[in-house]
Amino acid sequence: MSHATKAAEFNKNEAKVNWHDKALWYVREKRDKSAHNVQGWEYLRQLGSKIKANVLSNLDEYLIQFEANAKKNGIHVHWASDAEEHNNIVNDILSKHNAKKVVKSKSMLTEECHLNPFLESRGIEVVDTDLGERIVQLAQEPPSHIVLPAIHKTKEDVDELFQEHLGTTPSQGNPEYLVGEARKHLRDKFLNADVAITGVNFAVADTGGVVVCTNEGNADMGVHLAKAHIACMGIEKIIPKEKHLGVFLRLLARSATGQPITTYSSHFNKPEDGKEMHIVIVDNGRTEQLSREDFRASLHCIRCGACMNTCPIYRRSGGHSYDYTIPGPIGSILSPGKDLKKHSSLPFASTLCGSCSNVCPVKINIHEQLYKWRQVIVKEQKQPMVKKSILKTAGVVLSKPGLYRIAGKTARFMLKNAPKFMIYNKLNAWGKARDLPEVKGQNFDDWYKKRQKNG
């Protein structure tokens, strides 16, 4: 189903759209305030962008350096070329530990690889411990936002969900009560987990350690209580040196939620005594994206979600309308690289307003890449006949001044004289909520000619 169809569905409940839009706009404004209070913010973005460009140009070397340093610290390092291999590696580690219960902190990569259903089908309980992620997990839905996974749910929705799954009493969506109950529920899962899985925000090549940013401390809690830690990362998560965290940690939380820094920036550099630590490094299409010159910079992404919060389309269509692990503007430039046919409507789910590129902490030219994907899609995917013929015809007519004059006159004549039912009908998407322009007696050409004649 196309983005437009799903977005139209989401728009049937206008009150909910307004609420969703306002909630995310609030985050966007918080981001502005917090970012603009940092002296040299735009320079910091430039720096972040350049470090990431350097990483992508030297990825092979940094990855090998990272692996060597991680191994020196006693970490097991695994390489996975795709989602299947990643899932199998994780499953093998779990089998070795005879693990049946897993706690997982936020990881978009494991979402991308559909790790949860893979493990669940093998009898393993996987509990997402980030509160928002736990909410969508209970609802059996994918996250609708990468930082605020349950932003499409109201507190009343969560109340009902918890009554059903956690046996809570109705509280009319009392957040304090609901969070307290979630805490009790998750505490039990943490205490009984065999293995903890985390994502990775930054993998530091010169130390071999990884950094995970959370607001709830759930990554630490999981790792410290379980006997083994598996950290899963995409190959692009590398940064060259530990000191570069000074750039990225400042950019990440401000861009994401307007906080100066996430509550927890957890550094995992080696396993605890008597425990195991594994890192799974995953490609899953990233190398291919790296090979596409026009779209390479999409791999700069540090997953802050700022482009979603600022996107006027995302705010009014909800994350699920994108039907991809990473929704919003950044998802719309990453997804066509994964499956051009399935995601071919996403680069068109934009007015190319450019706000996404302006907020991006690592300066990805998102709106320009959306424009470029459109050109690729029209060339490589079958296009709807009507759209295709209108635009191809326009290409010819508008390149011939004579034809254009005739077409202009005809269109204006039709708009002015055709009966209303011919103009405002189901085929006219413009006219559903908007009037068409009123046609004046003459066009500018006619007026200009007359004026010239009358001198």
């Binding site: 437009a4 934009s350 010819v396 413009w430 200009y448």
Partner: protein
């Protein structure tokens, strides 16, 4: 000896030519008042933007070449539409970069920017005693950098505000969301009808809540979309292109 006047090729985008002649007329009259030598090349059609934005850039080369052919002789090319000018400057990279193509891309200016930056004028002697709301079109704002953007750190500036602030009697109203997209987006308006209309509706509401009587902007495609919503819902706001206001002497 008399100073040679700047020679301007007037670019009237296709939809303005056909549907909003009054905007073209105001633009021409305004430029003439400003003492430049204005010419309207009559074989002009369009900049190719509707095709490019829809993914049909390849099919627009004929249009782009015709544009260059029509406008290559002028000192400046001036049009009352930020998004069309943006398209010429940024997307004519699909043509072979001959000296003519480069010249046309460099010399194309949105009307307000031309008046403020090139002619160095802000007070055009206009008078318009109304409460006005300014819609900053995204291609003008974020593309051509006609003003500062709310997302970007830095000093506030705005080419359109510089001009409107000099108009006698005009009261520029402050909006809740200063530079959010209106949702037009070319074919987006039709293929993503639900979101496009909702975005437009929300923009109009912001102007209504800010007591705006006249909604204006430097890109009439946004205004066409917003006016369509206003007229459908019979809302008490008049829509005018900024050239019409700057050309007023009410």
């Amino acid at each position: 000896m008399q100073k040679k006047k700047i020679k301007v090729g007037l670019f009237i985008p296709c939809y303005i030519n056909q549907l909003y002649p009054q905007v073209g007329i105001a633009t021409l009259e305004l430029l003439e008042k400003l003492d430049v030598d204005v010419d309207y090349p009559q074989r002009q059609t369009c900049c190719g933007q509707p095709l490019g934005n829809s993914g049909y850039e390849e099919d627009s080369k004929g249009i782009c070449n015709l544009f260059v052919e029509n406008f290559k002789e002028y000192d400046f090319i001036v049009g009352p539409s930020g998004s069309c000018i943006y398209h010429i400057k940024h997307h004519f990279d699909i043509l072979e970069q001959t000296p003519e193509v480069k010249r046309v891309r460099n010399n194309a200016f949105e009307l307000c920017e031309f008046i403020v930056k090139i002619l160095g004028k802000t007070d055009l002697g206009a008078s318009f005693p109304h409460k006005v709301g300014l819609h900053k079109s995204c291609h003008g704002l974020r593309g051509l950098k006609l003003g500062s953007c709310s997302e970007v750190q830095g000093e506030h500036y705005s080419t359109e505000e510089d001009l409107l602030n000099q108009v006698r009697g005009l009261e520029l109203m402050s909006l809740n969301r200063k530079d959010e997209c209106c949702g037009f987006g070319g074919t987006f308006a039709v293929f993503e009808e639900a979101i496009s209309s909702k975005m437009g509706k929300d923009r109009v509401q912001d102007h209504l809540s800010s007591d705006v009587e006249v909604l204006t902007g430097a890109d009439h495609s946004c205004l066409m979309h917003l006016e369509g919503i206003i007229n459908r819902n019979k809302q008490p706001i008049k829509v005018m292109h900024i050239a019409e206001i700057l050309n007023s002497s009410l």
